[in-house]
Symmetry: C2
Subunit: 278 residues, 2 copies
């Protein structure tokens, strides 16, 4: 049914929010897409990411589904500023890359109408300029429905992401946070750490970074990611990250012990396994 | 002067040895390029990487410059098998990615005619099939001349690499090994460790590696590198690698402490620095 999702409001029209708007407008699944942002939204309108822009209070009042697509640390503020304006049956969802932290922050404010989600997409570039209608085609969107969510609310959010092209997968907030600590947050921490340690190794005589051939260079895309965004992710997914980072350091120490002992077989077995993980 | 380098013998005609042969043959700087290898060299000849193939003893007897381009751990064996056949004034050099280990192994056998070198080039693919005449164009070749080397021997090896298109840079074997421990060996150890730790995190219910989006995926090229080659590098550059890996783990622990303490400013400062190192 065309327009079945009603009015979708996207707060934070960057790469993710903008791409969602473009995909939803192309799909015909909602009657309109309204954008709200701290920054001007002329470019988002020109690009066709939203039908129109409204101040947050007016946008919230119009929303059937309100999508929080700002940085994670701003989401609670957005919710507080929207709360008095939201329709009684409006659904609120988000695109944040951490989940338990947001559930703890937002559920006390929103109760059963908050349906947590995390579309797994992105790219080197951020901002609405990089948005694309097909960003979520064949991407996975993790849904973390809460026990208190009404089935209709979960269905509406699922419907929205499927209309945008994503495949859905269900995880608890805790599962989500540990999985993404492993495959996204830890790799970034590892890369930032490598860049920092190599930088620290520079002396007046010699800066190793000048000789960055293969190896280090593969880490620089990750190590060049948005510092503020990653600070927020590390601080808001603290427990899972501390757990996986410690497990990772233990693994490095096992490698060091094998190197110290000249145990080539142990190294070879691990490196061969890493080809399989790959 | 055309052919000024005389006969260059390349032992181990893979990506590096094959590319060197192609570049030298194109440059006209040597009178001929002879290949010696454990594997058949038909493809190397068909590709124009060498003029002809000879058994190691005959090749060694013909060499003005003998280039060791086998895996590092085979080089001492090749030298032992060549020693009785080498002309008195033949020069021996290598392409190995570790230097102090090779100096300790080869100098007792070769004395002042061994001139250590390491061309910084490579790629995802190995083997002569991936060899290219321009692999060393604008690449750096590290030369680690020893105090006992005759100036003429150092000059011949420099001349050869410049004829192949490389820029030369001088480092002591110790400097070389620490710089490449930082920018090449440690990044590979870090990536192998990440793949292994993520693999270990899989349970019957959930395998995080299945969700490898950005982040982890950037590590998989490095983590998919040749296991035997990397085992050998880690074992033969042991001291430098243990040193930099421990420094790296300390850095990760500093990040963990900042995360534990909610110290976003410390994280932000480090991540911003990593953009500069990049």
């Amino acid at each position: 049914m065309s327009g079945r999702l009603g009015t979708v409001v996207i707060v934070g029209v960057g790469l993710i929010g903008g791409s969602l708007g473009m995909a939803l407008r192309a799909s015909g699944a909602c009657s309109q897409v309204i954008g709200a942002d701290q920054a001007p939204l002329d470019e988002a309108i020109a690009k066709g990411a939203i039908d129109r822009a409204l101040p947050l209070s007016d946008a919230a009042a119009a929303a059937d589904i309100l999508v929080l697509a700002t940085p994670v640390r701003r989401m609670a503020t957005v919710v507080r500023d929207s709360l008095l304006h939201l329709k009684k049956d409006a659904i609120v969802t988000d695109t944040g890359s951490v989940k338990t932290h947001l559930v703890a922050e937002l559920t006390p404010l929103l109760g059963d109408r908050y349906v947590p989600a995390h579309p797994i997409a992105g790219g080197e570039k951020s901002g609405v300029a990089a948005a694309r209608a097909d960003l979520f085609q064949n991407a996975t969107c993790i849904l973390s429905p809460l026990p208190e969510n009404a089935i209709g609310a979960v269905r509406a959010v699922s419907d929205m992401w499927e209309a945008a092209g994503a495949r859905l997968e269900i995880m608890t907030p805790e599962q989500h946070d540990e999985v993404f600590a492993w495959v996204s947050h830890l790799p970034h921490l590892v890369a930032f750490g490598l860049m920092e340690a190599v930088g620290d190794a520079a002396t007046d005589d010699c800066d190793p970074a000048e000789y960055s051939a293969g190896g280090l260079r593969d880490f620089t895309r990750v190590g060049g990611s948005n510092p503020e965004m990653w600070r927020d992710i590390f601080l808001t997914n603290r427990d899972a990250i501390l757990k996986v980072s410690a497990a990772y350091r233990d693994q490095l120490e096992r490698f060091e012990t094998a190197i110290k002992n000249g145990d080539g077989d142990a190294l070879l077995a691990a490196f061969a396994r890493s080809r399989i993980t790959r």
